[in-house]
Amino acid sequence: MMRGEIMHEAIRGLMEPERRLERFDGAIALGLADTKAGRVQEIEAVRRELRDAAAESPLTA
């Protein structure tokens, strides 16, 4: 027999992947909206921008 408290603890653990999937679904929806609206860049263009940004404002610990 598995008691209610243990069951609910197990459920909490089980729900975590579901919550992660929900967040993931949200991220995909955001990405699709960006794509539809043309808010996209080639990957190498993003790489250049990141390098330029790093050169201009290096992060400090």
Binding site: M1, R3, R39, I43, L59
Partner: protein
């Protein structure tokens, strides 16, 4: 395949760079560049990172049952010849774990309404419960895994799905219980349930 970075993804990359940079500035850019490199791989092998799980659980319908072989004759016989009658009469609900790619049944389990005598519970547990003579529970009547899927974690998947369904059910059930009779095969089943934090009943130690 053409691969582009969306505005949202770029914002995430910038945020990742900032977060890592707070601890390790020299690593921040190289880490983000590694992420971009991984993204590039997707253009050549878009199926390299599947989003779907290997298995899906479905209520028993017109699933192929004759090929199911768990290694336990009683489970196999029940699943092949008897379960649909129990489902039809609403004595049990049956769920089947299907491998998506092959459509093959990897495991089954049934759930039924059940009750256990209050006296069967450990005294420290029973004293916290209402003084009704029996406790409402859900019984995992049958559970089996096809031998072809040994070691794939099918038993745990079935059990967690059962727990999840019982916990979300609209009908009250204090606990979920399973039957494991004292023969050699069911000793394995008993060990499986113990591993998953099930506790023996007083009348069935």
């Amino acid at each position: 395949m053409r691969l582009v970075i969306t505005a949202a993804a770029k914002a995430d990359l910038l945020a990742i760079r900032r977060t890592i940079g707070a601890d390790n500035p020299s690593r921040a850019l190289s880490f983000v560049e590694e992420l971009l490199d991984r993204c590039l791989v997707l253009a050549d092998t878009p199926k390299a990172y599947p989003l779907v799980t290997r298995f899906v659980l479905e209520a028993l319908a017109k699933h192929e049952r004759t090929a199911f072989l768990s290694g336990n004759d009683r489970v196999d016989l029940y699943f092949r010849e008897m379960v649909s009658q129990d489902v039809k009469r609403k004595y049990a609900t049956c769920y089947v774990l299907i491998e998506r790619n092959t459509d093959k049944g990897a495991g089954i389990y049934t759930l039924s309404a059940h009750s256990i005598p209050l006296n069967d519970l450990a005294p420290e547990l029973a004293k916290k419960l209402p003084r009704y003579p029996s406790v409402p529970v859900v019984l995992i009547g049958w559970m089996g895994r096809d031998l072809a899927f040994r070691g794939a974690g099918v038993g745990s998947l079935l059990l967690y799905d059962a727990i999840s369904r019982v916990a979300k059910a609209l009908v009250g059930a204090y606990a979920i219980c399973a039957d494991a009779i004292a023969d050699a095969i069911d000793q394995l089943a008993a060990a499986f349930y113990r591993d998953h934090q099930f506790q023996p009943l007083a009348s069935r130690p």
